[in-house]
Subunit: 188 residues, 2 copies
DNA sequence: CTGATATTAGTACCAAGTGCTAAAATGGTG
DNA sequence: CACCATTTTAGCACTTGGTACTAATATCAG
């Protein structure tokens, strides 16, 4: 019932891929060979020992320090602003913003750019987002430069409410549209 | 220049929090005490040995069954997930998430939690947000623990479209509601 | 049958510990 | 100051999961 050397080594690779937390002893018993054979296999395949495998899994995880959204006031860089009227910001999409799988930017980054721009354009103590409808028109890729433009559509002073539309483009292609209903907190 | 026992133990905790990859020997030399003292400290504080610490860091990262996304791409911590049905995540709001002015969380963080949860709940190669309508029901403050629950409402296999509703609560008060229309990229 | 390849066995050694005992050093307190 | 408790050090045997190396067997192919 034993595998050939080649098959066993192939299986070994797959097994450790799935679960790196296995000792040579355990491997030996699952493959019905001696521990020494497993060691030889590991050497030929240059698979490190258990502790090193675990360490590398841990280090990997640790190095990628839970990436959260940038925390500055505004996501992206504001390049033009006309308070209570309109504003423009630029966000360069990097590897950090995209799904590793396919290089497409995660939605919340585009939202964050638009939302924080909507907040910034309001000339008041503070603005809170109340409601919002957004459409991701076209996927954005790593390397793209997203230019968001916020336009104040209307303002209801009674209700402290302001309606803003943000349109984001990449090289003149619209990639994102969002309507934001903002609540303004007037200076007391 | 030695610390008191209490101070040293406090520092020990903080040091290992920041970097769990340190041996007792290294710790001993940084604190200018003997290795045995470090061991006693670890025992009193029930801190496991280096290898166990590393293993737990690694296991944390490895043991997850999130399919649609590596864990680190999700904003907040997923505590329950039933693929294609529902998922729950927790996000602790810190000073970093709020407007300094009034301590109210910026909208895009709540959106990011909800959006990434919506992506994670989908059992497919990848999911992109297509459209979304969101309402910020109530301000969220620093210190709040936001629990977001994503529920898959419907799935249109023809259009590769899935409708998800995410409701976020702080201590049973709804603070955020979002409908997400997701586009699913099927496995090849 | 012979030679090459593959497998097993056994030994010494290492890192980073645990567990245990015991001796110093240090620090209040009466 | 003396005394006792706490704290710190030291030392030794033992554990895991290995490495490094040598040497003896198995197995198979021509």
């Amino acid at each position: 019932m034993k595998y050939t050397k080649k098959d066993r080594q192939q299986l070994l690779l797959e097994t450790l891929e799935k679960n790196p937390f296995i000792t040579d002893e355990q491997l030996a018993s699952t493959f019905n060979v001696s521990v020494q054979t497993i060691r030889l296999d590991r050497m030929e395949l240059s698979i490190p020992e258990l502790r090193e495998r675990i360490k590398s899994v841990a280090a990997h995880n640790f190095g990628e320090e839970v990436k959260s959204l940038p925390l500055n006031e505004v996501i992206g860089e504001i390049i033009d602003i006309d308070l209570d009227k309109q504003a423009i910001s630029i966000l360069d999409i990097t590897q950090d913003h995209v799904f590793a799988r396919n290089g497409i930017a995660r939605g919340h980054h585009l939202f964050a750019q638009a939302n924080s721009l909507a907040v910034a354009v309001i000339n008041d103590e503070l603005a809170l987002t109340r409601k919002s409808t957004i459409t991701f028109v076209k996927p954005v890729k790593a390397g793209d430069r997203v230019i968001a433009k916020a336009v104040v559509l209307s303002s209801d002073t009674e209700k402290n409410s302001t309606l803003i539309e943000v349109t984001s483009k990449v090289e003149n292609d619209t990639v994102f549209i969002g309507q934001f209903s903002m609540y303004r907190v007037t200076k007391s």
